[in-house]
């Protein structure tokens, strides 16, 4: 059982550019924390610092009540699962699982017991004699998970563990990892660039961009109440629609289109300002008497349909029930559920009226 506290972490590889910038975070005991962000934003670097594989340039890392900055990886009581599995190619599956225990001088009978228990949990008992080369991707990932759990660590670190699997297997393994978390109750930190994975697997999510935390919260919090434009566009698929323009007389004047926003909360406070108006696809509805827009792309998914609408120079995506029979080039009337609309500052792209 362990908490993790990161205090004002900065990391630079070249003493010029900060890869991780003033990172502060507290992870609760037994929590499943997901770190999500685009490729290259510093997720792996952060995880590797928690593991002890990289040293923070400044700042403190605490695991429970130990300052671990000077502690080598092997003494941090953590286990890590890598994207490429990182199984030792020259050892059997059994030896891959047992290696860490052997180095720690665990008695042989105990090793056998623990390896078999882990193999039971992950259903890899039949694979123990194989070499990693003889395993499929899904099997390799199970073995990598097994190598992590035999050591019974206080913290699990996952670095994009499912990225190399095909879509179907990924969904399956996602559920398995979630189940493993419930079973073990151990603190887990999970890195991914896939926002859907982050939303479905995490107790809380940290959204990272360019080494800077954008927002921390539960999946629903960050979806419904994004702190800035980056979070709003990164979380959700298709992403939130954005229209930039000036507020005049309660309407948004964007390029070649004007939208009446007089019903929106706090709109009078924005009078005369340049803002970014954000609305999620599911909050655009077909109506009898709304704004009339032409359909440029029609994507029926079966259970629902994505309509791409031309709004002036920009495209708005609406998510509507599948039953509507709409043709390409039709003009449709839409209204916006303004209670769900977001406004962002044009300058900073921060959310306005964010609480």
């Amino acid at each position: 059982m362990a908490t993790i506290t990161l205090k004002n972490i900065n990391k630079s590889f070249d003493n010029i550019h900060l890869v991780i910038n003033k990172f502060d975070l507290e992870i609760n005991d037994g929590e499943f924390m997901v770190l999500v962000g685009p490729s290259g934003c510093g997720k792996s670097t952060l995880l590797r610092m928690i593991a002890g594989l990289e040293i923070p340039t400044t700042g403190e890392i605490w695991i429970s009540d130990t300052l671990v900055n000077p502690v080598p990886p092997k003494d941090r009581n953590i286990a890590m699962v890598f994207q490429n599995y990182a199984l030792y190619p020259h050892m059997s599956v059994f030896d891959n699982l047992a290696f860490g225990l052997k180095l720690r001088k665990v008695p042989k009978s105990e090793i056998v017991k623990r390896v078999h228990k882990a193999a039971d949990i992950l259903e890899i008992k039949d694979l123990l004699d194989r070499k990693p080369k003889q395993l499929s991707g899904g099997q390799s990932q199970r073995v990598a998970l097994g190598r992590a759990i035999v050591r019974d660590p206080k913290v699990f670190l996952f670095d994009e563990p499912l990225s190399n699997l095909d879509a179907k297997l990924r969904v399956h393994m996602r559920a398995e990892i979630k189940k493993l978390h419930r079973q073990l109750g151990t603190t887990m930190i999970y890195v991914t660039h896939d926002q859907v994975e982050a939303m479905t697997i995490g107790d809380r999510i940290v959204i990272l961009n360019d080494g800077v935390i954008q927002q921390v919260g539960t999946p629903l919090e960050v979806y419904q109440n994004p702190a800035n434009r980056f979070v709003a566009s990164f979380i959700g698929s298709p992403p939130m629609n954005f229209l930039e323009g000036k507020i005049e007389n309660g309407s948004l004047l964007a390029e070649k289109v004007s939208i009446n926003l007089s019903e929106a909360k706090n709109i009078h406070k924005l009078e005369g300002e340049n803002v970014i108006f954000g609305i999620r696809p599911e909050n655009i509805h077909l109506t009898e008497d709304g704004l009339e827009l032409p359909v440029v792309i029609n994507e029926p998914l079966g259970n629902e349909t994505f309509l791409h609408l031309q709004a002036g120079q920009q495209i708005l995506i609406a998510r509507i029930p599948a039953l509507e029979s709409i043709q390409l080039g039709d003009r449709v009337r839409v209204s916006f559920d303004l209670s769900k609309a977001c406004f962002f500052s044009s300058k900073t792209e921060d959310r306005l009226f964010f609480t």
Binding site: R48, A51, G52, L53, P72, P73, K74, I78, A79, M80, F82, Q83, N84, Y85, A86, L87, Y88, P89, H90, F99, G100, L103, R104, P132, K133, R147, R151
Partner: protein, 254 residues
Amino acid sequence: MFAYPFLWMISATLKPEIEIGEIGLWSSNFSLRSYKDVISKIPIGRALLNSLFVSSSVTFFVIIFGSIVGYALSRLRFFGRDFIFGVILFTMVIPFQITLIPMYILMVKFGWVDTYLSLIVPGMISTFGILLFRQFFRDIPQALVDAAKIDGCNDFQILFRIIWPLSKPVIITVGILSFMGSWNDVLWPLIVIRVQKLMTMPQLVTIFKVGGQAEGQLGAQLAAATLLAIPIILIYAFFQRYFIESMATSGLKG
């Protein structure tokens, strides 16, 4: 075709002296007389053991030290690493003739002349070996090294328990090259060894040929040369098979 000179040499060593000039391979008078001559005139058996001992030791240390330095240069981060690598590269371009005399003076100062140490110690570090190891180690996925660190390995355990088993092709390549290099070296032993019982095989054979003991007998000279070549051919033949095998089986998964 390319085997002909070699076959001719073997056949010549078996022929009586007067027939050696003939181009044909076969003679009805084959005998081991030339070999007996060689063995009776010089301590070639002892020289064989000397050579085996010296070349094996050199090879052993080249692999150990080369892989340790190669590991440091490829996997550890420390101040001046790239500079040190540059210096090591630079020493490769210095012709050995330049270091020969200073090295000899060093051997004299250490009192190592006419000892095995002078044959082994100067050959223990091979820049070429370091280079090959470094290059090969760089291609081993970092995640494997990271996983080993988390599992509890120190740097030596990472090198010998994780990296070595994955590096058989380069270990064997460096091994063959340094063994052959050490085995075939004549000049250096001629400089530092003067007592016959410490002489290496090529040194002894060279002295035998040019030093007059062979008394102009071509058969005996060729027999000595054949004896010199046989061990290296055996070693090469054995490891080459293994080398190709390990190349084929060590396919690392990224």
